[in-house]
């Protein structure tokens, strides 16, 4: 007979029960329900119909491509801007601590509040942004009313809101790079730009991996900001998977909504997991 471990598995039980019932069970069930015509009253088996619809209906296809465009655009911008801001905010400039707080604060503010605020600021005729542009003689675009611009506008606001987190992660990453690398590079005659490309960028890689992965997951799943700013409009021009899932749920097409959920799950699994693996492998080689 084995004596009991001082670290019993029943410690998993309370959290495990909640997690299993409210997270794992629905996730597993979603695979089944995505194959049904499901509404508030019944669930009839439908085969692949919901998926076929997702990849054939233009407004649903638009949602898929928009999700990818949005995720990669915001992730890329947050990575680049985050690194540049982090370098700037660790270079010992005036009011550095205050600036860090200012850049980071939007991360903590209500996303809905940010969305509504920018909805007003981006108003085509009366919004502060276009008024400011008009003051210097530029005719500002209809940020959220122009169908080909709406998604980009929301993406820019998402970058505004999220770049602080990327910056913070990069600042933590930069803090781990020893000053001696820069000193050695300077003795070798590297310019500031060369130091950035040859020392900073390679050595801050772990932070880059984190920023890319985090912002990509966040971008693929984003719902609240889009919902607050455009509700997927005008038309379906700024719909993403998460907003389609909500719209179909509200319209009573639960099966279709759940199929969207499964697609989102698979998208994250097949984009993020290989990317994370690839980035981590390159890290080991470096």
């Amino acid at each position: 007979m084995r004596r009991k471990s001082p670290y019993p598995y029943w410690f998993f039980l309370p959290a495990g029960a909640i997690f299993l019932v409210l997270f794992i069970l629905p996730t597993v069930a979603s695979f089944y329900f995505s194959l049904t015509y499901w509404d508030p009253f019944e669930a009839r088996f439908a085969g692949w119909d919901n998926y076929v619809q997702f990849f054939s209906e233009p407004f649903l296809v638009r949602g898929l491509t928009n999700t990818l465009v949005f995720a990669f655009l915001t992730s890329g911008l947050k990575t680049v801007l985050g690194l540049l801001l982090a370098v700037l905010l660790t270079s010992g400039i005036f009011a550095q601590g205050f600036l860090r707080s200012v850049v980071f604060f939007p991360v903590l503010v209500s996303t809905i509040g940010v969305g509504l605020l920018f909805q007003e600021l981006m108003h085509p005729t009366e919004g502060a942004i276009n008024l400011a542009l008009a003051a210097v003689g530029i005719d500002g675009p209809g940020w959220l009313t122009n169908p080909s611009l709406a998604l980009i506008s929301v993406a820019l606001v998402d970058v505004w809101r999220g770049v602080g987190l990327a910056t913070l992660i990069y600042i933590a990453g930069l803090a781990t790079i020893g000053q001696e690398y820069y000193e050695a590079a300077r003795i070798d005659g590297a310019t500031r730009l060369q130091q950035f490309w040859r020392v900073t960028v390679p050595l801050v890689r772990p932070a880059t991996t984190t920023v890319i992965i985090l912002s990509l997951i966040g971008g693929l799943r984003l719902f609240d900001l889009i919902w607050a700013m455009t509700r997927g409009g005008p038309g379906f021009s700024s719909d993403v998977l998460a907003s389609v899932i909500y719209k179909q749920y509200q319209a009573g097409f639960w099966g279709l909504s759940t199929a969207g959920n499964v697609i989102l799950f698979l998208m994250i699994a097949f984009i993020v997991a290989p990317l994370a693996w690839w980035l981590n492998r390159r890290e080991l080689e470096a």
Partner: protein, 274 residues
């Protein structure tokens, strides 16, 4: 500091002011205007300062819905965090202390929870099945399920810095597993617990999507949903909308001012290890 540092700093400060501070000032100023004044949406000072009137009107809208929302959000946040801290620390403790196949599987599942988007409609189906749909209790448990990944991740990392000999000394002193955990380990987790409380409270307080799905109904309103629900009503009263934004931004702002260090620690955890 070099002259160059001052110049770059000053320019950065100016840009940061325009990009990051002006939008918040815009909110604050418009929250103090009259409805007619605010409808123009421009960046002028109020013709008449009506901060207090706007505050009272916003709070009174729809039978004090904002106060109810504050109450609901606080109940959800406090209860969910209490459960997260105790249950999450228990999981992190055993996963760290007992490396086994079971522990690794549990850990993998919990980390997957950080990535996988929740399947919303099936979750509603489950919540209905156990009579927790449209209830605060259900919402609390949902927030626990969704916050578990982050919590366990942080606790596991921190517990690995607590020497095992402390557990062993307690075992020899006759402590049962739950006594080792509650009397020896949990009190030592204070710093990381504070980080978790701060970061999770902001996350849960700011959550819009999940209450939208799982907690519909006027009596269940939460803080983020007040904005959404009032949006149509405030369309001619932008001043009140901005006042509402202002009112729900204050708690995170206070937390940020007092717990800056914990927020930074929590948000950057794992950044260096990747």
């Amino acid at each position: 500091m070099t002259r160059r540092g001052y110049i770059i700093g000053a320019i950065s400060l100016l840009v940061a002011f325009v990009v990051f501070v002006i939008p918040f000032l815009f909110v604050a100023i418009n929250a103090m205007k009259t409805a007619q004044d605010a409808s123009s949406l421009d960046f002028s000072l109020p013709e008449r300062w009506v901060f207090w009137e706007n505050l009272v009107t916003t709070v009174q809208t729809r039978d004090y819905a904002l106060l109810l929302a504050y109450w609901n959000s606080i109940v959800i946040t406090v209860c969910a965090i209490a459960l997260l801290v105790v249950f999450g620390a228990m999981v992190g403790f055993v996963i760290q202390r007992r490396p086994s196949r079971t522990s690794r599987v549990v850990y993998a599942f919990i980390l997957a929870g950080l990535m996988i988007p929740p399947a919303v409609v099936p979750t509603i189906w489950v919540l209905q099945g156990i009579n927790l749909f449209k209830t605060l209790n259900g919402m609390i448990l949902i927030q626990v399920a969704y916050g578990l990944g982050f919590t366990v991740l942080l606790y596991r990392a921190f517990i690995s810095t607590i020497p095992r000999e402390l557990d062993e000394a307690a075992i020899i002193d006759g402590a049962k597993p739950w006594q080792i955990f509650f009397r020896v380990v949990l009190p030592l987790l204070k710093p990381v617990t504070l980080t978790i409380i701060v970061v999770q409270s902001i996350t849960i307080f700011n959550d819009f999507t999940h209450p939208l799905y799982y907690l519909p109904g006027r009596e269940n309103i939460t803080v983020q949903l007040t904005l959404y629900n009032f949006q149509s009503q405030f369309v001619s009263q932008m001043n009140l909308l901005f006042m509402n934004i202002l009112l729900i931004t204050i708690p995170p702002l206070l937390v940020f001012i007092f717990f800056n260090r914990q927020i930074v620690a929590g948000m950057t955890s794992g950044a260096v290890k990747g």
